[in-house]
């Protein structure tokens, strides 16, 4: 079979390639490559339609390629590293929906991170983020409220995460009940944050510090398995910790992954119609695009209707946007609600932040654990 670039070699001819086309030749041989940020800056925004910020806010400056262009200009010293120029870079949900459509599979959030890191290291930090950093430093909790729980012990540790502990304590109770019903004798500990908010906001040093603290604590429990409610915590433990050399001994599963292993044996049945909101961290970053839907499909009698769009962030991902531009985060949530309503008004999700962001305005959003537990109780 001819190669990808044979047409060009045939067309241009060797002699031309060696004179005028030398650069071209080097590129196709892979000997000359352009850095990702520049490539993205030169793209016509071929993932704009996938980006929730772009769909709702619609500005060039905060579009995926727009962010790359601003970051490139900052890197090259042509735009100042100041809050006005950093704002577009933080107007990002870190959802990586752009990656799904990018011909280069780029993560915009990833390659603008160095600019954010530089800003943090130079002290150019938004007030809204400073508060998060202080909370993490002082209480080990994003909300600034240190966990008042006690340290248990056992084999399976249920990690609640800052959002569940602060905003949805009932979900924690129900998850423990649910896991016990499944036969797991779970325990909890006095937790500290996994560190993801610091990472998202460009404070990688604080992330590493927070992560090391959390890992030491979790390792010391002797648990073999950690189950999380929040897919972001699972992602941080499983993907980011190894990337930064932080060792976490127990295996880590998001609750949906654990349910996936046992659901067929549960023989659940229900009536009615639901749709689902697939959390970005679960679908994209943990690579489980089909899981939530497949869990619902295991429930006999349940009608599942797809949302208009399969993947769209709830508006509250990435730690930055909901703090810097709360109205925009709410507008993105409202847009997602409309897409979900094209499926059904009862929505099952698997992330406490998504649930909190989307509930209301004609939608009843429930966590998969609550949804299944209710069925099991019947």
């Amino acid at each position: 079979m001819p190669g990808k670039w044979d047409w060009l070699k045939d067309e241009i001819g060797l002699s031309n390639l060696l004179t005028g086309g030398r650069m071209l030749f080097k590129v196709i041989q892979g000997k000359l490559s352009v850095d990702d940020l520049t490539k993205c800056a030169l793209c016509p925004n071929m993932c704009r339609h996938a980006c929730p910020v772009s769909i709702v806010e619609g500005r060039e400056t905060t579009s995926p390629a727009g962010k790359a262009r601003v970051a490139l200009m900052i890197r090259e010293g042509r735009l100042k590293l100041d809050p006005d120029n950093l704002e577009p870079l933080y107007t990002c949900l870190g959802c990586d929906l752009c990656t799904l459509y990018c011909p280069f599979e780029f993560s915009v959030a990833d390659f603008i991170r160095p600019v954010k890191e530089e800003a943090v290291s130079k002290g150019v930090v938004f007030e809204e983020f400073r508060e998060v950093f202080e909370n993490l430093e002082t209480s080990g909790d994003v909300y600034g409220k240190a966990d008042s729980g006690a340290d248990g012990s056992g084999i399976v540790l249920y990690f609640r995460g800052c959002t569940v502990r602060n905003e949805r304590p009932e979900l924690a109770e129900k998850t423990v009940e649910f896991l016990r019903k499944l036969g797991y004798d779970v325990f909890t500990v006095k937790e500290t944050c996994c560190g993801l908010p610091a990472y998202n906001l460009g404070n990688t040093e604080l992330f590493k510090k927070t992560a090391r603290k959390a890992a030491d604590k979790l390792n010391a429990t002797g648990a073999e398995l950690i189950v999380t409610s929040c897919p972001s915590c699972a992602y941080t433990f499983r993907v980011l910790y190894p990337k930064y050399g932080i060792k976490l001994k127990p295996q880590v599963l998001h609750i949906t992954e654990l349910i996936g292993e046992v659901i067929t044996g549960l023989k659940l049945s229900s009536e009615g119609t639901v749709t689902y909101h697939n959390p970005c961290k679960l679908a994209i970053h943990l690579g489980e695009k089909e899981l939530l839907r497949s869990l619902l499909e295991s429930v006999e009698g349940l009608e599942i209707r797809e949302p208009r769009r399969e993947l769209f962030c709830c508006g509250h991902g990435g730690s930055a946007l909901s703090r810097l531009k709360p109205e925009l985060a709410e507008e993105i949530a409202a847009e997602r609600r409309e897409q979900l309503k094209d499926g059904a008004t009862r929505v099952v999700t698997a992330c406490p932040s998504c649930e909190l962001a989307l509930n209301g305005d004609g939608l009843e959003v429930v966590d998969i654990v609550e949804f299944l537990l209710e069925m099991m109780k019947k």
Partner: protein, 476 residues
């Protein structure tokens, strides 16, 4: 037009600009921005040569302010303010236009329309109402969910907007069945100087003087700002056939399509690639390599589509090569990488789309390829034909090259373009099939239009006497 970023930022503003901006800020609040990152972000569209400038630290132009209207009233207010103060105003959709039509050449105000995004389907009337800023993919997804399609799939479907489509007279990959955007526009609303909203209602047909709707189609923001559009929709196709062929000559393939259309069949997608492009896009398909590859999609009501597919099979001169090449095209049709990969190393690439009657098709193809290749520095030139009519065809040329010693990227770029445009005019073609005119192609427009060029200019100034609507674009 190329100044460095800092030079342009320090440039004195136009008279009236400060007052206009102050007024816009009082009306729109933080929906009017003068932040450097915003000004920079609206300094260009996707006019390719400007990326070579950008890489060298130069920008085509900077606006004095960018505004983000949320309603038609906001748009009318912005046009009124621009007119009153004599400050230029440039509509901006997705910025995917490739000819500099949205570049704020003389400073002033850029108006980004992407927040005008209401959508409403009228089932019985087979019609959708869309705000000018609605994203291309978004409207198609919305319609699909309800059992319809717009049938409009430009390769820029993902980044572009409905208003941009209308303003540039865009066309999609499925055009041979569904037509260009001009065939879909039923009505529209537009804000024009001195600050008025006009509505051309969406009737099935209307004989109320010259068709003013058409007047805005392809107007590239020089008359006014399209705020809302009513478009035709079709039921989502029930049946879809994928067909491909390998022919011995471009003439054979073109003539096959001419005969298919003459018989009344309307395949949605027809793409005929010359030998170079067949090798480039279908190198994995041995039976096509070195030949002229054609991919086709026939779709619609199942009985009608079957009949059309049979017509294609009867008429096409070439070896059938199955569904796989078409699937490959469907999977890769939105992969746009070339500029990102090659512009930073100094390779100049661009595409040029023209149209010609059947009669002159082969002659034009050969002349344009020869003309582009004759420019020193050109390394390759190729084409495919991708939109077909009873009367003729659109050729979409691609060239790549490296400026020879002593010549800048821009000089080389302009030389290839000039060669292609001259060859097109001399071969009886039209200089643009769908990308439009913009700032780049306007130099060849007087020759194309002859005395009608003056008519266009007069109309523009009759509507926009102070020349504030996208000045410098299309007409001088």
């Amino acid at each position: 037009m190329t100044l460095t970023f800092d030079e342009v930022l320090k440039r004195p503003k136009r008279d009236g600009s400060d007052k206009a901006i102050a007024e816009l800020k009082s009306i729109l609040g933080d929906r009017a921005s003068t932040k450097p990152a915003d000004l920079f972000s609206y300094s260009h569209d996707y006019w390719l040569i400007t990326f070579h400038w950008l890489l060298k630290g130069k920008v085509p132009a900077l606006p004095d302010a960018v505004v983000f209207p949320e309603s038609e009233e906001d748009v009318v207010a912005a046009v009124r303010v621009a007119h009153e103060h004599g400050v230029p105003i440039y509509p901006y959709g997705g910025g995917s236009g490739v000819l500099g039509a949205a570049v704020p050449e003389y400073g002033g105000i850029v108006i980004d329309l992407k927040c005008l995004r209401d959508l409403r389907l009228y089932d019985d009337d087979l019609m959708v109402e869309a705000g000018a800023g609605v994203n291309g993919y978004y409207i198609e997804e919305y319609l699909n969910r309800k059992g319809y399609t717009l049938g409009h799939f430009p390769q820029s479907l993902y980044p572009s907007t409905v208003g941009g489509w209308v303003a540039t007279k865009a066309i999609g990959q499925f055009s041979t069945k569904y037509g260009g955007i001009e065939d879909m526009v039923l009505g529209l609303r537009a804000a024009i100087p001195p600050g008025k909203l006009i509505e051309l209602k969406p009737h099935p047909r209307t004989a109320t003087g010259p068709d003013l709707r058409k007047f805005f189609v392809g107007s590239e923001g020089i008359f006014g700002i399209v705020t809302k559009v009513w478009l035709k929709v079709r039921p989502y196709p029930e049946e879809r056939y994928l067909l491909s062929f390998a022919s011995e000559s471009l003439e054979d393939a073109l003539d096959s399509v001419r005969r298919i259309l003459r018989r009344g069949a309307r395949p949605a997608v027809v793409r005929i690639y010359d030998r170079v492009e067949t090798k480039r896009h279908f190198y994995k398909f041995e039976e096509m390599y070195g030949k002229i590859g054609t991919v086709m999609i026939v779709e619609g009501d199942s009985r009608l589509a079957k009949a059309e597919k049979e017509t294609v099979e009867e008429e096409f001169r070439g070896t059938p090569t199955g569904e796989e090449p078409v699937r490959h095209w469907l999977e890769t049709r939105f992969n746009v990488k070339e500029i990102s990969e090659f512009a930073p190393v100094g390779v100049v690439i661009d595409t040029i789309e023209v149209a010609v009657n059947w009669n002159g098709a082969m002659n034009l193809y050969e002349n344009v390829i020869r003309a582009m290749k004759s420019v020193k520095g050109t390394l390759m030139a190729s084409a495919h034909a991708s939109h077909f009519y009873d009367q003729g065809v659109c050729f979409y040329f691609t060239f790549a090259g490296v400026p020879p010693k002593g010549r800048s990227a821009e000089e080389f770029y302009n030389e290839v373009w000039d060669a292609a445009m001259r060859a097109t005019l001399e071969s009886g073609g039209t200089i643009s099939h769908h990308h439009g005119i913009g700032r780049h192609r306007k130099r060849w427009l007087p020759e194309e239009l002859g005395d009608a060029y003056e008519v266009l200019r007069k109309i523009k100034l009759a509507i926009d006497e102070k020349d504030v609507m996208n000045p410098g674009n299309m007409v001088v």
